[in-house]
């Protein structure tokens, strides 16, 4: 492990992107990272709002039309190595917004996050629970430490 990898393993930065959905997952993610009960910072994970600082991108929500381009831009702005964690039923499958009436796809959303950017970890739940977010993000830390710069 080089100097870069060594310093990265002590401070993983998580960035949260909201791409639609109902806000429930976002509050649980912020709750998981910030609140003293769950406290993701005990695993050396910090929340950032700057894509150039981030290592892990946490995406929530079905990607609605207007958020597709910003999501791609944010994904490209993150330096390598990077991992994407999709959080919540909407980000995984499109959730209740995916189809109208059986299999007729909705015209409002661009489908799950996988259609737009590659996803490395998935955390299910509607809304996702804070301890699942802690477990999911903690599970990708060894992966990002093993990746080459």
């Amino acid at each position: 492990m080089g100097l870069k990898g060594h310093s990265r393993s002590k401070s993983i930065h998580v960035m949260l992107v909201y791409t639609g959905g109902c806000n429930g997952c976002d509050i649980e993610i912020v709750n998981a990272v910030l609140s003293p009960r769950f406290d993701l910072e005990q695993y050396n994970v910090y929340l950032t709002w700057n894509p150039r600082e981030a290592d892990v991108l946490v995406v929530s929500g079905p990607v609605v039309h207007w958020t597709k381009e910003p999501l791609l831009k944010i994904y490209e702005a993150i330096p390598d190595p990077k991992l994407v964690v999709a959080v919540g039923a909407c980000a995984l499958t499109g959730g209740v917004y995916k189809n109208i009436h059986g299999d007729i796809p909705s015209e409002e959303i661009e489908g799950p996050v996988e259609n737009v950017i590659p996803v490395d970890a998935k955390i299910p739940g509607c809304a996702v629970r804070a301890k699942d977010v802690v477990a999911g993000v903690a599970s990708v830390i060894p992966i990002i430490n093993g990746l080459k710069d």
Partner: protein
């Protein structure tokens, strides 16, 4: 950021230059948790005009609801908002019951009020935590987030989920939400804990001279402006106007509570407004537990019939929420949802104006925005 320099720049013409700047952010910006576009027109660091636009987060939930049986459509309304999810399912069940003429059991009515007040507790605490974070006072934010977890545990106990608990169904409440004596006792214990802790928090908050100096007089909204803009909820009551939709709801008939108002309409009044409403919510919850009647919790004896458009208004944590249903053979033909943040957007714009640009975010946050649930099919008709 776009910078325009007006006036002459030569040294002998004007002594003092006025810089007119437009600061715009959004609609999707990494620093904003929710998608909205804000444009601030700034002159010498004072905001002269502000414009907030929503509409990029449209998911067409009313379109998905069309044609579904009314109880399935009710379950979908919960996905409108992740903060006041119970308010939406409560109100849509109320609209559906009014349209189909369903009587609900007394115990179910009380349990719905209980869930609604628990939601008010967690939403107001989220507001206090978020507001403290925007004030850059992380200690207060951590304290209030820690207290909030106790309410989330109660909601988890009652509904089985931390965010979208789905207490109400058409005709009553879910069997899961029925409380036994042990759970009722647990709720009463947590209410004592919340009263104690929030009182301590509020005392520390108002006695902190640096925090109060920052928020008193910031983001002021006068009562006349608030009434002109049709502002609802705690943001209206913080300007001193006494209006609460709960006083008109039959669910709250046998429950005593005070309508809290604050004077000033600034950020301090807004924050104190929410903090004092927490004590009213705990008071209501204690009364509900004390007077909880026995009996069935759901009425299954109803039929799917046609009905004209039925409207229902309730008070959710942010103000008055409106749902309407027009049913045909028990299936949804028409549905309109109007969330309180829609009418509070005007308050967010007005409270920025006339204040320094660094206070703009605080002024917007003090109106408790929830743009996620506001993005509905909106049609503005100019007369």
């Amino acid at each position: 950021m776009v910078t325009k320099i007006d006036g002459a720049t030569t040294c002998n013409e004007v002594e003092r230059q006025v810089f007119e700047t437009e600061i715009d952010m959004g609609t999707v910006h990494p620093a904003a948790l929710e998608p909205y576009r804000v444009r601030l027109f700034v002159e010498d660091e004072i905001v002269k005009d502000a414009e907030i636009t929503v509409g990029v987060n449209h998911r067409g939930i009313e379109r998905i609801m069309e044609g579904l049986p009314v109880e399935k459509a009710n379950a979908l309304t919960e996905k409108v908002c992740g903060i006041c999810s119970n308010g939406h399912i409560f109100n849509s069940c109320r609209a559906g019951e009014g349209a189909l003429g369903i009587e609900i059991p007394e115990r179910a009515r009380y349990l719905r009020v209980l869930a609604q007040e628990l939601e008010r507790l967690h939403s107001h605490m989220l507001y206090l935590g978020h507001g403290s974070e925007v004030l850059n006072h992380e200690t207060f934010a951590m304290r209030i987030f820690y207290i909030r977890e106790s309410v989330m545990e109660l909601l988890y106990m009652m509904g089985g989920n931390r965010v979208q608990y789905g207490i109400s169904v058409l005709g009553g409440v879910r069997p899961r939400a029925d409380l036994n004596l042990k759970e009722q006792q647990r709720i009463l214990e947590v209410m004592d804990y919340i009263d104690d802790k929030v009182a301590g928090f509020a005392e520390r908050f108002v006695n902190d001279p640096m925090v109060m100096h920052r928020i008193v007089g910031t983001g002021q909204l006068s009562q006349k402006q608030a009434l002109d803009l049709h502002v609802t909820g705690p943001t209206l009551r913080a300007t001193g106007y006494e209006f609460d939709q709960r006083t008109k709801m039959p669910e709250y008939d046998d429950i005593e509570f005070d309508v809290i108002t604050q004077d000033g309409g600034d950020v301090a009044a807004n924050i104190l407004m929410r903090a004092t409403e927490i004590f009213q919510a705990t008071k209501i919850i204690r009364q509900v537990i004390k007077n909880l009647p026995d009996g069935p919790i759901v009425n299954r004896d109803w039929e799917m019939v046609d009905s004209p458009v039925y409207k229902s208004y309730i008070e959710v944590p942010r103000g008055v929420c409106y749902h309407s249903y027009g049913l045909e053979d028990g299936k949804v033909r028409h549905s309109i949802i109007r969330t309180p943040s829609m009418s509070n957007i005007g308050a967010m714009q007005e409270s920025c104006i006339g204040h320094p640009v660094q206070d703009a975010q605080l002024a917007i946050v003090s109106c408790d925005p929830c743009f996620t649930c506001t993005d509905r099919a909106i049609q503005i008709i100019k007369l």
